[in-house]
């Protein structure tokens, strides 16, 4: 067993003599990882086909958190349905609100006031930071590092405090509604936002030192679960998982909504050797890049928020006529928005009443989790949390 083999992939551990030495061989085993497992982030069940520590195949099974979110949408007015979008991706709830609001606005032809648009962008980006903080922290937890998890939650707590001061919610906000937002900024919000942004900058270095550049962490995540750009596109990966595979595609740049075109920001993508970070051994599309792209996106989100805070316009926060809007008959719309985990699309069909006749969501995590089966082959059991954690799915959105 040469050193190179062990360093790259432990394929040597596969029992290749199984047929020849029936009495000596190890037994293949099916093992359920989840739905109650600490590393599957909710109720994902992955059936592992293992040979000792080697995983020969991993088959994700979903459906343990199905709550009929789409069917409920056919019985409620859009305003009433907004809280249900919160519960889809409960880590990035405001972004979900935004995607649904965009779909309804396009269908009903509602104009959103500029201040509402700026607030939407700011809160969506704050929630993106909060969501990526959870993702980065939990990924550290999956790798066995407990402390970055609590650091990330410490920072997230500041964002949640700001959200609570604004709209009263700490997890499910229902902040963005069709036509605008529900609440204007409270007193002192701007100062706290600046204080948070100044605080977050140095903390990114902490995460880099504790996780990104940590030798053990890099060894655990580099070259593990590599998703090539072709595979990523074939499986419909979006968001950070797609960008980590080297595809520069971000709806905020490609099809700007809510005035994203007014703000300057970069789209970080996965790069060999970590790009400017210079981490040896990292390849495009591996777990390390999926993790690191989220870290870089937090910096870009902070950049957007700074620009919003500097150029916040005055005016209304919600369009004039939003209650009891009639959705046009025989009209349908499909709108996607870049939420924290990828592209969340809402298909809404109107029938002339206030209640849509059809609501369908395209969840980014649903597509993202399907790639596990493709990439998890021939990894170790210890790599499973690395792969599943780097996909960063929220099961509420996979099952809806």
């Amino acid at each position: 067993m040469s050193q190179v083999t062990v360093e790259t992939r432990p394929d040597v551990l596969i029992d290749t003599d199984r047929e020849d030495q029936a009495d000596l061989c190890t037994e293949e085993m099916l093992i359920n990882m989840g739905p109650q497992h600490p590393a599957t982030h909710g109720v994902l069940r992955v059936v592992l086909h293992t040979d000792g520590e080697m995983v020969l195949g991993a088959y994700p099974q979903i459906g343990y958190l199905h709550r009929c979110a789409e069917k409920i949408g056919e019985n409620l007015q859009p305003f009433q349905y907004v809280p249900y979008t919160d519960r889809m991706d409960y880590v990035g709830a405001i972004n979900n609100n935004q995607a649904f609001a965009l779909a309804i606005e396009k269908l009903a032809g509602i104009e959103v006031p500029p201040r509402a648009q700026a607030l939407r962008v700011m809160f969506a980006e704050f929630n993106r930071i909060a969501s990526h903080l959870v993702s980065v922290g939990c990924y550290g937890l999956d790798m066995g590092a407990f402390t970055p998890f609590l650091y990330c939650f410490r920072e997230r707590e500041m964002i949640l405090d700001m959200f609570e001061a604004t709209c009263g919610g700490r997890l499910t906000y229902s902040y963005i509604v069709p036509g605008g937002v529900t609440h204007d900024l409270p007193e002192g919000f701007i100062e706290r936002a600046w204080e948070f942004l100044d605080f977050l900058g140095p903390k990114i270095d902490d995460y880099n030192n504790l996780l990104s550049y940590n030798h053990i962490f890099v060894k655990r995540t580099s070259k593990v679960g590599v998703v090539s750009a072709e595979t990523a596109l074939a499986y419909g990966l979006t968001g950070t998982c797609l960008r980590a595979s080297g595809v520069c595609w971000d709806l905020r740049k490609a099809a700007p909504y809510d005035g994203y075109e007014k703000y300057e920001f970069d789209v970080p993508i996965g790069e060999p050797d970590g790009g400017a970070a210079g981490v040896r051994g990292v390849v495009v599309g591996d777990c390390w890049n999926r993790y690191y792209v989220r870290l870089l996106e937090m910096i870009q989100s902070a950049r957007i928020i700074r620009q919003v805070l500097e150029t916040l316009p005055e005016g209304d926060i919600v369009a004039k006529k939003t209650k009891n809007i009639k959705l046009p008959a025989n009209a349908e719309v499909y709108v996607e928005a870049e939420v924290t985990r990828g592209q969340l699309g809402f298909y809404v069909q109107g029938d002339g009443s206030a209640i849509p006749s059809r609501v369908k969501a395209r969840g980014p995590s649903f597509s993202n989790v399907s790639v596990v089966e493709e990439v998890a082959k021939n990894h170790l059991i210890g790599d499973m949390p690395a792969i599943i954690g780097s996909i960063d799915m929220v099961m509420g959105e996979v099952d809806r």
């Binding site: 050193q3 062990v6 360093e7 432990p10 551990l13 085993m29 093992i31 497992h37 600490p38 590393a39 000792g52 520590e53 550290g140 937890l141 999956d142 790798m143 066995g144 590092a145 407990f146 402390t147 609590l150 650091y151 410490r154 920072e155 707590e157 500041m158 405090d161 204080e195 605080f199 504790l210 996780l211 940590n214 053990i216 962490f217 060894k219 655990r220 170790l380 059991i381 210890g382 790599d383 499973m384 949390p385």
Partner: protein
């Protein structure tokens, strides 16, 4: 109260018989009596125990001088058997007490009459070791939770016992004692039940030869080091048995990981321990510790570059030995649910944790004895010898220059380093553990062993080269300690900027 219809559980209460009834009854009594007492008197108990510990330390340091002198005397005359060796007479006890500066020996010597039998002393000492080994996990768990809390900018346990949650480990222990003892239906019952003891007893047995002072050792074996290594090796069998008997796939993975873990870390660990053995020329831990009495520059870790490397490698391997992060693969919770502990609950589960934390002290104590000067302080022991034989002189000697108190403090400091590492680093993957141990640490430690042999051959400790290197290594060690303190102080002063307003303003005691 409405009757709930639960098909899988009959409504009648469980009846306990035999030992279980005794345990349940006892725990009920403990709960009924202990809870009101504890909740009202937690703080007084805490204050009294602090004073008690202070008194105990004083008495121990006093006793240290007495026992040392007494046994140095017998050791020159008779066989060297440690604290419990040989027979004493009442007259000898009285002479020893007088020599220790106790002015009134009239009735006191008859109070001590059972001590003249070796078996009585054995029982007393093993009880003492047992108490220490029971208190160690309780303290280490509390300390780990507090340290982890401070590392993670949160307070850790704060409620139980009124002062920084000091009573949290006993409260947890009582809770675990009361929990149901679950054995899975398909488990191998006898093996499942015996596995926690297979883990816990060897760890306790390792204390038999761990020296807390020059004569503060239960049995000063000539092969004390080998005994401790053997006991740490037996512990692995318990883990494998636990994993196998649980009849759970995750538990079997944990057990198998522990097994292949063990074959990879034991070899570098054993070879790293050979280096101090070679420097001193003895396998007896008392001899190795006693050879480092000339101040901190004579500690074996600073003797030459190779002993320093050996200390590092032993420390890494010892983390693996007691399944601490980053080597906590057998129970790695994000991969194997809880590994070999998956099916365990209640006090059997607690026994595994007791064993882990006790083993932490054993490996830390071994590190202290072999590399960090044992029970000696950084000051040369010869300075302490000038203090005289009075009560105060002996106490100061035992407290500041050499004694069990110093050994225990150093051991807990090493435990703190283990805790610190656990809450900082991610976990290593299993193939990386094997790779690191077999392909990196083993060749390195072989080279170290060879180089140390050559070094000891050509540069005996009194040669110029050896002294120069000794001074350099010792200075490096001092710089490391000082810079650690400086970094810690800087972090404390800038804590508001470091951890943000929430943690500083809203955390009790922040």
């Amino acid at each position: 109260m409405t009757q709930m219809s639960v098909p899988w559980k009959p409504g009648e209460p469980v009846e306990y018989r035999g030992v279980k009834a005794l345990i349940v009854g006892l725990s009920k009594v403990v709960y009924a009596i202990g809870r009101p007492i504890l909740s009202r008197l937690a703080f007084p108990i805490f204050v009294c125990s602090v004073f008690g510990i202070a008194l105990l330390v004083f008495a121990t340091t006093l006793l240290f001088g007495f026992v040392d002198d007494r046994l140095i005397e017998t050791a020159t005359n008779g066989p060297e058997l440690g604290l419990a060796g040989g027979e004493l007479t009442v007259a000898e006890i009285a002479a020893g007490l007088e020599a220790a500066g106790v002015w009134w020996t009239g009735l006191l010597k008859y109070l001590f009459w059972p001590v003249q039998y070796a078996i009585v002393r054995d029982i007393i000492i093993s009880l003492g070791i047992f108490c220490f080994a029971l208190v160690t996990p309780a303290f280490a768990i509390w300390w780990e939770r507090k340290s982890a809390g401070r590392i993670q900018s949160r307070p850790g346990p704060m409620r139980v016992g009124n002062w920084h949650g000091w009573a949290q480990p006993p409260a947890d222990g009582i809770k675990l004692l009361q929990k149901e003892d679950l054995v899975p239906a398909d488990a191998d019952g006898p093996l499942f039940r015996i596995a926690p003891y297979l883990v816990y007893i060897p760890v306790m047995a390792a204390f038999a030869t761990l020296p807390f002072g020059s004569y503060w050792v239960f049995r000063n074996l000539d092969v004390g080091l080998l005994l401790i290594l053997a006991m740490l090796g037996i512990e692995v069998i318990g883990v494998v048995v636990a994993g196998w008997a649980s009849h759970s796939k995750w538990a079997i993975y944990g057990a198998m990981r522990e097994a292949c873990h063990m074959v990879s870390y034991e070899i570098p660990m054993g070879m790293a321990l050979l280096i101090p053995v070679m420097c001193v020329g003895s396998l007896s831990l008392v001899d190795i510790g006693g050879a480092q009495d000339g101040g901190w520059h004579t500690w074996l870790v600073f003797r030459n570059p190779f002993t320093f490397g050996a200390a590092l490698i032993y420390f890494i391997a010892s983390l693996a030995s007691c399944k601490r992060a980053p080597f906590d693969l057998p129970e790695g919770e994000s991969e194997l649910v809880a590994g070999f502990l998956t099916e365990y609950s209640g006090f059997r589960w607690a026994l595994f944790f007791f064993a882990e934390y006790t083993a932490m002290f054993v490996v830390a104590g071994l590190m202290v004895v072999l590399f960090l000067g044992g029970w000696h302080s950084p000051l040369p022991a010869s300075w302490g010898a000038q203090l005289g034989d009075g009560v105060i002189g002996r106490a100061i000697k035992g407290l500041i220059f050499s004694g069990p108190a110093l050994f225990i403090i150093k051991g807990y400091l090493m435990i703190f380093v283990q805790i610190w590492i656990r809450w900082t680093l991610p976990r290593i993957r299993i193939d990386q553990v094997l790779y690191a141990c077999v392909q990196v640490m083993l060749p390195v430690v072989m080279v170290l062993l060879l180089c140390n042999t050559v070094w000891e051959l050509f540069f005996p400790p009194d040669s110029i080269v050896a002294i120069v290197f000794n001074v350099i290594m010792a200075l490096i060690g001092a710089v490391v300690v000082v810079s650690f303190l400086v970094v810690m102080a800087r972090g404390f002063i800038n804590r508001r900027r470091e951890v943000g307003y929430l943690a500083v303003d809203l955390m009790p005691g922040g």
